[in-house]
């Protein structure tokens, strides 16, 4: 299946969860949040949120910025 992660198109195996995706990408977990198809996914749902073909995932964290 094809999933867009942070704007990048990725070919991923079926049945992958958000938890699996974060592990595969080696994303640091602290102060990180995930949105799946524009909706925030609470952390406790990562293991049960199965990705589907065409999904859009945003993984964010604090970065430098201000004024």
């Amino acid at each position: 299946m094809n999933v867009t992660v942070n704007g990048k198109s990725m070919e991923l195996s079926d049945g992958l969860t958000i938890e699996d995706l974060l592990a595969r990408l080696g994303v640091r977990r602290e102060f990180t949040a995930v949105a799946l198809n524009r909706e925030v996914t609470p952390k406790h749902q990562y293991t049960e949120s199965v990705l589907r073909d065409g999904d859009k995932v945003e993984i964010v964290r604090p970065m430098g910025g201000g004024r």
Partner: protein
């Protein structure tokens, strides 16, 4: 001398200077400048992680246990984007104190007043402590307060412009129009600009570029800390009135007679 605490969302802050985390030459320089500024609130953007996801994090240099993080919605052009960004920030563990920006134009980065009001209302209802970045417009400031804003943050001048407080009279009118804290957000170029904002009676100043873009950010951060404190003290001390002609400060009586 005077109570100088700033209260936001039920939390007390001794420092009235809020600083950003962008545009620094290095993370180390940013850390040292924030330290020198004495700020207790530090604003951060919420952005996509670079993939693969290892690498340095801003928060390796800004200890979230020491500083209150203030996620901002910089780069959001609609109320919907800004609200979703705040939800993401909350889920990321950054808390519910948010600096709300809904930008209306990429060249001036002026706020979209209508979107800002809508997002303020939504987020306040959802339990966020909303600090909206707004025009220096007293009518808008009052509407934001009524919509549930915990403070209003009028611009002194366009973001990153360093033009200072372009319309001090409007800032004065905003101070009269609302009861929530007024924090000047954007436009400060140098220490005197920050002092002017505080002398006008503002409750705080937020800045990033003026410090991060200075030749020596750590020195400028120190200058800003002193300017905010000096401006606050001057405001509380009560300045003298302005007069066109001189008024001698030495007594006129008892001047020796040198006439021959």
């Amino acid at each position: 001398m005077y109570d100088t605490s700033l209260w936001l969302g039920g939390k007390e802050f001794k420092s009235r200077l809020i600083v950003g985390t962008g545009k620094y030459p290095s993370f180390e320089n940013m850390r040292d400048a924030i330290e020198a500024s004495g700020a207790e609130i530090v604003t951060v953007a919420v952005r996509r992680v670079s993939l693969p996801g290892q690498g340095e994090s801003l928060l390796d240099y800004v200890d979230p246990k020491r500083y209150t993080l203030l996620p901002n919605t910089a780069g959001c052009y609609t109320a919907d984007e800004a609200v979703r960004t705040c939800y993401l920030a909350r889920e990321a563990g950054l808390g519910t104190l948010v600096k709300l920006e809904v930008i209306g134009d990429s060249r001036t980065l002026f706020p979209d007043a209508i979107g800002l009001l809508e997002a303020t209302r939504t987020l306040a209802r959802e339990g966020f402590t909303v600090l909206p970045y707004t025009n220096d417009d007293p009518v808008m400031a009052k509407k934001l307060e009524d919509a549930g804003a915990a403070a209003v943050m009028p611009l002194g001048a366009p973001i990153g412009s360093g033009l200072g407080i372009r319309n001090p009279y409007n800032i004065k009118l905003i101070l009269e129009a609302v009861t929530v804290p007024v924090i000047v957000d954007a436009g400060v170029g140098t220490a005197s600009d920050a002092a002017i904002a505080m002398e006008l009676g503002c409750d705080g100043v937020l800045m990033n570029t003026a410090i991060a873009g200075a030749k020596d950010p750590v020195a400028m951060a120190t200058a800003m800390k002193l300017a905010v404190e000096a401006g606050r003290l001057a405001s509380k001390a009560g300045r003298i009135g302005k007069k066109l002609y001189a008024t001698a400060s030495s007594p006129l009586e008892g001047v020796p007679d040198w006439t021959s």
